[in-house]
Amino acid sequence: MDNSVLSKTVCLKYFSQFAERTGKTTEEWLTEAITVEALWIELDKQYGFELDISAVRPAVNHQFCDWKMAINHRDIISFIPPVSGG
């Protein structure tokens, strides 16, 4: 089985403390993660976000989603740290 078939390129968007942590606001990311949860764990290893997953909400293609959401090639994915508007 060709490993590249399982690999997907996703567009990551970073905000607030995550943008500060990564030093980026967007990033193309090659991943084999099946779910956004697996992707979060992968990114957390890379960058060390220092925030428990329970305080974060995942969003795919500009919509909040479940942590079990499957990732598709070219998805726009963001992990939303605690908000502080108002």
Partner: protein
């Protein structure tokens, strides 16, 4: 009617209130969030707000739609400012009108509470007593 908007200029309340004109409404309640000069006992010099615009728009609109479904109100508008704000600047404006004041008060409170809890907007604080600045959000507090 409901309207959510993100703006990068000064919020003008007068033109917003004009949009609520309705002969069947007896009550209008508004909330304004102003930039304070202190937070957690630290002197704040100014703020910077950023958002995830696409998601903030859909979440903001959802908050207003839910307020309209939940309360006997006529209209609800929320405007949030982004970018660099100075002490005293208005960061957020919420307006609600209704036939009766009870619904208007409850819905206005509901909207600002949910906007603050759900909509992807973040505030960075800059301080007078240090060079550091801080993204607010790890602690969830009332304004």
């Amino acid at each position: 009617m409901h309207h959510f908007e993100l703006v990068d200029y000064q919020i003008q309340r007068e033109s917003l209130v004009d949009r609520f004109s309705d002969p069947s409404c007896g009550a209008f309640v508004s909330f304004e969030g102003w930039v304070r000069n202190h937070h957690d006992n630290r002197p704040v010099s100014h703020l910077f707000y950023e958002s995830y615009p696409e998601l903030a728009m859909s979440e903001g609109q959802a908050v207003l739609q839910q307020a309209l479904a939940k309360y006997q109100i006529n209209s609800a508008i929320c405007i949030h400012r982004l970018g660099s704000l100075q002490i005293g600047d208005m960061a957020v404006w919420v307006g609600v009108n209704a036939a009766h004041r009870d619904a208007a008060f409850q819905a206005c409170r509901y909207v600002i509470d949910d906007i603050k809890a759900r909509v992807p907007i973040w505030k960075k604080e800059f301080y007078l007593d240090s060079q550091e600045s801080k993204w607010i959000g790890s602690e969830v507090k009332s304004l």
